[in-house]
């Protein structure tokens, strides 16, 4: 996994609530191997609508999504994160995320940032007024910075933060805890014995 530390990039404003993972990547692409570029499948059907903000040239290099509540709700498909990631996105900012999406994101070097609804509304208004605006994400300090210098602090699990900063992987870490897992299993078989 590629480490995530700082990000300074164009933000794509998706001023919609409940952007579900079916929209992010339609189910017919779930059978594709991970070696595919899932960026090609990102918003595949939603982008048929020419008015969809994603289609605008000025957002071509965007690496941050800003959306309304419940971004990534619905299906557990990790492909939704792969599609965003392969397209170049590394972070999303929203008042809330689908639980499974957020969890999948952190395992792929993609940072889901929860900010208060009012802050996100402000950011969206700001991005609407100044399309192509860049935002900065500073993971070590846990802040999102506006171009005018305003900083918004966000929470992130200490463990997830560590994994992101180091590009570490959860499975390798858990395998170091095998003695604790074996002890649990021994207790379990004794209880059932």
């Amino acid at each position: 996994m590629e480490p995530f530390v700082h990000l300074d990039a164009v933000a794509l404003p998706i001023a919609r609530p409940n952007v579900d993972t079916d929209q992010i990547v339609p189910a017919r692409y779930l059978q594709k191997p991970r070696s595919d570029n899932f960026g090609d499948y990102l918003f595949r059907d939603v982008r048929e609508d020419p008015a969809f903000v994603f289609n605008q040239e000025r957002y071509r290099g965007a690496r941050i999504v800003v959306a309304e509540r419940n971004f990534g709700c619905g299906s557990s498909r990790e492909h939704a994160v792969w599609a965003l990631y392969d397209h170049g996105f590394r972070a999303a900012i929203a008042p809330s995320f689908g639980d499974i999406f957020a969890s999948n994101a952190l395992k792929n070097g993609f940072l889901p940032i929860v900010l208060p609804a009012a802050t996100v509304a402000q950011l969206l208004a700001h991005l609407d007024a100044h399309p192509g605006l860049r935002l900065a994400v500073d993971l070590p300090r846990q802040v999102v910075r506006d171009p005018d210098g305003t900083e918004h602090t966000f929470e992130v699990d200490a463990f997830a933060k560590h994994c992101l900063l180091e590009g570490l992987d959860e499975i390798s870490y858990t395998l170091t805890l095998m003695p604790a897992i074996e002890a649990y299993e021994a207790r379990l078989s004794k209880d059932n014995g």
Binding site: D45, D99, S103
Partner: protein, 470 residues
């Protein structure tokens, strides 16, 4: 000093803690890992690392997403990549020694129908599956939730999963359900009330006299759609209904072990005075059958209602999103919902393809015929549900009425096997998601109960089933 009263969730959670980190992340032990034919990427991740599944006896698999429902041969899956997904599950589980009910096994079906039906889902267990509707299994008093591919690989490798403890939300439901009103209507009403993110970060416990009176099938429907309210999990304390359902199931404890298990399961309830982070209550005594009109399950209304008017939206954002949904759905504000004509009917999915669902639909269909121009399908949730329905003659009722009677699978709920709603077609569906393109590109989905979908099939439009039941 008396012990602190605990919630059902808390009791199950504590029992599964392997290790807790200072930052609140907890490593939980997984009792049951359910796999389906979307698992290929996870097995690939495992292979890449040179790892093998740790506990095959705690894993169970059955293909459901990519298999055909018009036949039982993978050769009939037209898309070779889709066929590969089902084949990969067979190969990966065979190599690992994980038990699997394949497409040629009469017990195959949607994993969220099969696992409870086999007694694999039991009270007190921690159950995960790489599918968001894993919340279904909470209906037996288990802690069950969906996970992503990396997490599936993690569970395969370590039999554990990292979680941050969710908050608890108790939804207390009171009032007797009217004739023609079902668990599907209740859960749609709940989601309409609290919103599609209303339970985000929470594990829901459904409680109250109405829930206690529900059959197991109805409880599965209720817990299944917890994820559509954003919940991590949905659960119901086990009781006599649960025990009666599980007794004698192939993987349930037998004999003396059963008696011991039931005794232990009786303690799996929220103690009196247990504190929940949030409480919501709902009286369903006057609840009408519900249907959705938009592209989120929260967009649900009583069938007597009208297509909402964006001009009456509380704010500009809501107005825009309603306008977008109505344009996609091809609906005109103010139209009575009962005047909305449909092209297709899908009775199936992990939400509503159990025997009780098929019975309630058949009751409406009996002696009637599918409306002209409507294509209507019944896709049973499992081979065993299908066989039971056939013993009861339900297949004849459906076939005589002009329905197609299919084999078990996820089918048109998400169209991964090629069973799809054509662009622009409107489908009355008993599934769980009315998302843009969910049932195929351009598909227009209205969610409702099996009885309501049956009513729509015979009239050709969204219909208050109660008018057909008198």
């Amino acid at each position: 000093m008396a012990e602190v009263p605990r919630t059902l969730f808390d009791k199950i959670w504590r029992r599964h803690v392997v290790q807790e980190r200072d930052d609140g992340r907890t490593l939980l032990y997984v009792d049951r890992h359910l796999l389906q034919d979307g698992s290929a990427p996870a097995f690939a991740m495992l292979r890449q690392r040179g790892l093998v599944p740790r506990s095959r006896e705690r894993s169970f698999a059955t293909p459901d997403h990519y298999i055909p429902t018009h036949s039982r041969s993978l050769a009939d899956v037209r898309d070779p990549e889709a066929a590969m997904m089902a084949q990969a599950l067979a190969d990966d589980t065979a190599a690992a020694g994980i038990p699997m009910f394949g497409v040629d096994d009469s017990r195959q079906g949607i994993v969220h129908v099969v696992a409870p039906e086999q007694g694999l889902s039991q009270p007190g267990l921690l159950i995960v599956c790489g599918d968001s509707h894993t919340s279904t299994h909470g209906a037996v008093g288990a802690l069950a939730f969906g996970i992503g591919a990396s997490e599936v690989a993690h569970v395969l490798a370590t039999q554990t999963i990292w979680q941050r403890r969710p908050k608890t939300l108790r939804i207390t439901i009171a009032g007797a359900l009217g004739n023609g009103v079902s668990a599907k209507d209740v859960i749609l009403a709940v989601i309409a009330k609290i919103g599609a993110a209303g339970a985000a970060g929470h594990a829901i416990e459904y409680a109250g006299a109405t829930v206690r009176a529900l059959s197991m099938e109805s409880r599965f429907t209720l817990c299944n759609m917890s994820i559509e309210a954003g919940a991590r999990a949905g659960m119901i304390a086990p009781d006599e209904t649960t025990f009666a359902y599980l007794t004698g199931k192939p993987f349930a404890p037998q004999g003396e072990a059963w008696d011991r298990a039931v005794e232990a399961w009786r303690a799996l309830r929220s103690d009196d005075g247990a504190r929940f982070d949030r409480e919501v209550s709902l009286d369903v005594s006057t609840l009408e059958p519900m249907v959705t009109w938009g592209n989120s399950p929260e967009d649900a209304l009583p069938i007597s209602g009208r297509v909402p008017d964006p001009e009456e939206a509380p704010d500009a954002d809501r107005r825009t999103s309603m306008q977008r949904a109505l344009a996609y759905m091809g609906l005109v504000p103010g139209t009575p919902l009962e005047e909305v004509a449909i092209d297709r009917v899908f009775i199936g999915s992990c939400t509503n393809a159990r025997i009780e669902d098929l019975r309630s639909a058949a009751k409406v269909v009996a002696g009637r015929h599918v409306a002209k121009g409507v294509a209507a399908w019944v896709v049973p949730g499992s081979g065993l549900v299908k066989a039971q329905a056939e013993r009861e003659g339900l297949d004849r009722i459906f076939a005589d009425a002009g329905f197609e009677w299919r084999f078990a699978g996820c089918s048109m709920c998400l169209a991964t096997n090629g069973d799809r709603v054509a662009p622009g077609e409107r489908c009355a569906s008993t599934s769980n998601r009315n998302f843009v393109g969910r049932q195929g590109p351009g598909s227009r989905t209205h969610l409702m109960s099996p009885a309501m979908a049956a009513a729509a099939a015979v009239t050709g439009r969204l219909t208050d089933v109660r008018a057909l039941l008198t």
